[in-house]
């Protein structure tokens, strides 16, 4: 299974990871190599086998919706790259969207 340059670029957009031309070539080769090795999985007969998402028996863990102390706004915002008053500053979302829409 060979991953084309176009496919690598498509995945990069889905993952929002910028890639250089060199990286596209290298990833195309490396990912193809890895996926080829994983092809063996298709030999396993999984008819009627349910998927396992996690390995413990716990399901739908609930807790009371109780008020408890939490971090202060100052602490929460301390690591934000751009701030304005008590907010995280972000770049405009809508005007750029159409250009990058999938």
């Amino acid at each position: 299974m060979k991953l084309s340059r176009e496919e690598v670029l498509h995945i990069a957009i889905l993952a929002r990871v910028g890639v250089t031309d060199e990286e596209v070539d290298r990833l195309s080769e490396q990912l193809s190599n890895i996926l080829e090795n994983f092809g063996a999985l298709q030999q396993v007969d999984t008819t009627g086998v349910p998927p396992t998402a996690q390995s413990i028996a716990l399901q739908n863990v609930l807790r009371d919706d109780a008020v408890a102390p939490s971090l202060t706004t100052k602490e929460v915002l301390a690591n934000a790259p751009q701030r304005e008053e008590d907010f995280i500053r972000v770049r405009a979302v809508l005007e750029q969207y159409s250009q990058y829409a999938l």
């Binding site: 910028g18 190599n33 994983f38 301390a78 934000a80």
Partner: protein
């Protein structure tokens, strides 16, 4: 007094009998770190002032007779566990300046038990790797042979314990990241049952596989740390409400009535003969200790574990790492007004090559048209792998395998070929897939390797238990350790 290479219980004895104070002990370790670090490079951050402050508090507690097994004993935390006010980098450029506003539950619990935190340890970036060479900061060297890797991803934690830079450390294990470095550094490393230890405050890699556990010089220390960190935490909904036993109670020097199985599939192609011989010799010792051993156990789907792991783990990672967008915290690309460009460049420059490779692999496996063929298929084979373990544990109390098919490899030896690197974890991955506990303990040295110096290169034996069967594997590990005595050897740096 020489306090290098102390175990927790030895340090505790010195503190309890007032032969040394916690401040003296901590100072001594901080001095040793200064000596050893230029060769080993295990620490991302050294928290000397904080450690001495904590030591002072511990001495006050001890003076009042308030002393537990960990009180006043220096420890080290892998740099993917949040520490309030102390930067937590995940050895990534993305989090190089990230200072968490809260402590991970394990850190909180160890602090409550009186841990002195010496610092934060180096790792493969976001815990993705088997050699600590994927750290975006620097490479950690194996104290047994500085030209070789310490294993990974908890390589900094393992190397520091082996080099006597800390008494114990915490690591995290998604596919072998505690056990393989423990094996490479000839120390003890336990990956508990999924759910045994809270992961609140652990930077998420693959959430259905990640688990935190101890790296220690001996099995008794492992039990002591497990006592401190195990148990239900309302802040981690996957943590188990099962009661936590006193893990030191199961440490007995004989194995009468214990049924052990040795699955053939773990003696893989490409395994080094010295590793093979060491594990066979180890199994013989276990028999002499009274265990019954069967070589007639088969887990045939083990051969698919590598593929299952490298589909499931990157898939989960691609979702977990979506949060690094340069907006809320972490590295942020600033030279643009475009939101999407900022996000793409943030992730391009903030992540290293292996992290990007896995995000891409996971995104592909989850993408439209491939989900059924890769992710769903892997989850179904995961069910079969777990069932094979469940069946084996109907007959056996624990399974014995090598931890890694090889001794530590040279720095740079496997960095060009991702798949070769992935194979280093071939014996440890299935355990995370099944969610069962496993421990790696020192099982000898490959002294016939011409290029190795002194003792030779470390070999580890893996003991796998049933879900929440930590006591059984600790018992087997303890009995073997006491009989074989490998733990007494020290890496001279």
């Amino acid at each position: 007094m020489n306090v290098d290479y102390l175990t927790i219980h030895e340090a505790h004895e010195l503190l309890r009998t007032k032969q040394i104070s916690s401040v003296e002990l901590t100072r001594s370790y901080l001095e040793r770190i200064q000596q050893i670090e230029p060769k080993v490079h295990a620490f991302v951050t050294i928290t000397g002032d904080l450690a001495l402050e904590q030591a002072k508090e511990s001495d006050e507690r001890i003076a009042k007779g308030d002393i537990g097994p960990l009180t006043g004993v220096p420890g080290l935390i892998k740099d993917n566990m949040c520490t309030r006010g102390v930067r937590t980098t995940c050895s990534s450029k993305m989090l190089q300046n990230f200072v968490p506003p809260y402590d991970a539950t394990v850190v909180e619990r160890l602090r409550a038990s009186g841990m002195i935190m010496l610092g934060k340890s180096n790792m493969d970036e976001f815990a993705m790797g088997s050699s600590t060479e994927n750290s975006a900061l620097f490479v950690t060297h194996n104290p047994w042979d500085l030209s070789r890797v310490p294993g990974g991803s908890s390589g900094g934690s393992a190397a520091a314990v082996a080099a006597g830079e800390t008494v114990y450390a915490l690591g995290s294990d998604t596919g072998g990241s505690i056990r393989q470095p423990a094996s490479f550094c000839s120390i003890v490393g336990l990956k508990p049952t999924y759910g045994r230890v809270s992961r609140y405050g652990l930077v998420a890699f693959a959430s259905s596989l990640d688990q935190i556990g101890p790296l220690t010089r001996d099995v008794t220390d492992c039990a002591l740390v497990m006592n401190a960190i195990s148990g239900y935490d309302p802040r981690d909904s996957t943590s188990s409400p099962n009661p936590v036993p006193d893990f030191t109670k199961c440490l007995k020097p004989n194995l009468e009535g214990v049924r052990l199985g040795v699955p053939q599939e773990y003696f893989v192609q490409g395994m080094q003969p010295e590793v093979d011989n060491a594990i066979r010799a180890g199994v013989k010792i276990l028999e002499e200790l009274g265990a019954t051993v069967s070589w007639e156990v088969s887990l045939p789907h083990t051969r698919y574990a590598l593929a299952v792991y490298y589909i499931i783990a990157p898939s989960e990672a691609s979702a977990n790492l979506a949060r690094y967008d340069g907006v809320k915290y972490g590295y942020s690309y600033a030279e643009t007004d475009s939101m999407w460009e900022a996000m793409e460049k943030t992730r391009q420059h903030g992540f290293g090559p292996e992290v990007k490779r896995r995000i891409m692999l996971g995104t592909y496996a989850l993408s439209a048209g491939y989900y059924d063929a890769y992710y769903l298929k892997a989850q179904k084979v995961r069910t079969i792998i777990r069932q094979e373990f469940d069946n084996a544990f109907k007959q056996f109390d624990a399974l014995i395998t090598p931890t890694s098919p090889t001794v530590p490899f040279r720095i740079g030896e496997k960095t060009a070929a991702p798949l070769q690197m992935y194979l280093s974890d071939v014996c440890t991955l299935p355990i995370n897939i099944a969610g069962v506990p496993a421990i790696s303990i020192p099982a000898g040295f490959a002294s016939s390797r011409a290029e190795s110096r002194g003792d030779g290169l470390p070999i580890g034996m893996q003991i796998i238990g049933k879900p929440f069967g930590e006591e059984t594997i600790l018992q087997v590990a303890y009995a073997y350790e006491q009989a074989a005595g490998w733990w007494k050897r020290r890496a001279v740096v």
